[in-house]
Subunit: 282 residues, 2 copies
């Protein structure tokens, strides 16, 4: 499908994306671009990329340029790429926020060659070693502002993500950021805060290590996530994240109030209401 | 090792316990006791138990009586069992709280035949269908007030849990309840509250279903837990749970304040501190 694909950033998402394209026979050659020499070496070793080149040279040789780097550095990189591509090449990003990116690129003369995508998949790990085969499968990929991209570019990206086993959902950038705050960003905040809670209260680290069951590990695992990746997400999606964080604190205060007042009927109601999530998550 | 074992309650924990004993060839006959006829039928079907009897008859026939029912009904059942056993039989519980149980049983003339245990393992599911093979492995089992139980009873339970692949930790009941609040009970509260947050904010349930990635599922999965099992835990461990819940709300307010004031240096610090959990969880 593609002769050459450039991945900008050689980490969890781009590395898994590359592995999947190779596995499906959808690309002949993958070029890696990264400012971190160590990551490039690791990505070559792991077979995530076939070669490395400076950004400009890589772009010239590629049908698709896939940008998966922290969202605070995505705009300048995508802009630079759009400055030098021709109108048969495609640029796509994989970032967790879309409003500020789409706004920043709105007036670029090559905007229509860019497809704003967010494959809703990830783990708490980062870097090329975190890349896994068979990522993305069964998850949803959001495409934003479809109408601002050339139909051939959108179709190519839809085809790629579908071959990776993803469903496609279409949204404007604002809706995406709001939904992403609810179903992804807040989970990271609560995990980070839960880790800090337990680290603060439980001075006996051995006890955490020995006693933590699967439940704790599961609720706290996102606290291992990379701050350099998530801080810019929270900054760019600040208003939505604050909105849902305020609601979450209000919900926790209901639990607190029930316990303080020994209002156990209402506490049971709160728990039964939470059980409704079963209906929604398989 | 045992000829007959009675499990009181035929659910996630007792069912998994029975499967493991059978798998290891540590029991010939497992008797199930439950007030719920449907659960008994299911447990028979699934091979979790070999027969069912009323509590008194079951106890008379058993070397070990293993009580794994909601903690609000554990005291009367264990007391009833202690009333009728002889001094070669063993009673153990598997409950998530220990202070109120151990206090209530302190003066029972047969207290020394009781071993207070808490295998730190579970899932968000309950009932006999939730029982799984190879549960418990690699986790820790806490034994409380070891010195109040007969050495032969403690040794028998240690041997059982070790054969199931568990490490044993010893604690007084108060320490157990405090640690359990930190590494288990708070995770349930945060998950319940997170589910309510998202259900409240995200009116488009389809969006949750489509967009929720692995991260959200992981942080929210405990919200599927059974209120009849967890409400009594929160009631009995109210003070510890409130203590850690207050700390958790304070930690979340730090995130909120950083976002409100756009104090991103401190926000990064909070996230980096949370990353320390990596050191502790493998």
């Amino acid at each position: 499908m593609f002769d050459s694909v450039t991945i900008v950033g050689v980490g969890l998402i781009s590395g898994s994306f590359s592995l999947a394209l190779k596995e499906k026979g959808m690309v002949r050659n993958v070029i890696g671009v990264s400012r971190t020499e160590q990551s490039i070496q690791k990505a070559l070793e792991l077979g995530l990329i076939d070669e490395t080149l400076p950004l400009e040279e890589a772009v010239l040789k590629s049908d698709l340029i896939y940008v998966a780097i922290p969202v605070d550095v995505t705009v300048p990189v995508v802009r630079k790429v759009l400055d030098i591509i021709n109108d048969r090449q495609i640029v796509a990003d994989a970032g967790s926020t879309k409003h500020s990116l789409c706004s920043a690129l709105a007036d670029h003369p090559m905007r229509r060659r860019f497809v704003a995508t967010h494959p809703m998949w990830g783990t708490e790990y980062s870097g090329p070693e975190a890349a896994v085969k068979d990522a993305f499968r069964g998850r949803t990929c959001v495409i934003c502002e479809k109408q601002k991209s050339d139909p051939d570019a959108v179709e190519a990206m839809e085809k790629v993500y579908r071959r990776l086993g993803m469903e496609i959902a279409y949204m404007d950038a604002d809706s995406h950021d709001m939904h992403a705050a609810y179903v992804s960003h807040i989970s990271h905040i609560t995990s980070f805060a839960l880790a800090n809670t337990v680290l603060e209260k439980e001075k006996e680290e051995d006890a955490i290590f020995e006693l933590a069951g699967g439940g704790f590990e599961s609720t706290v695992r996102l606290a291992k996530s990379n701050p350099s990746m998530w801080l810019p997400v929270f900054m760019q999606n600040r208003e939505n994240v604050l909105d849902v964080l305020n609601e979450h604190i209000a919900q926790l205060r209901k639990f607190k109030s029930c316990l303080e007042k020994e209002n156990y009927d209402y506490l049971r109601e709160l728990m039964e209401n939470a059980n409704k999530i079963k209906r929604i998550l398989k």
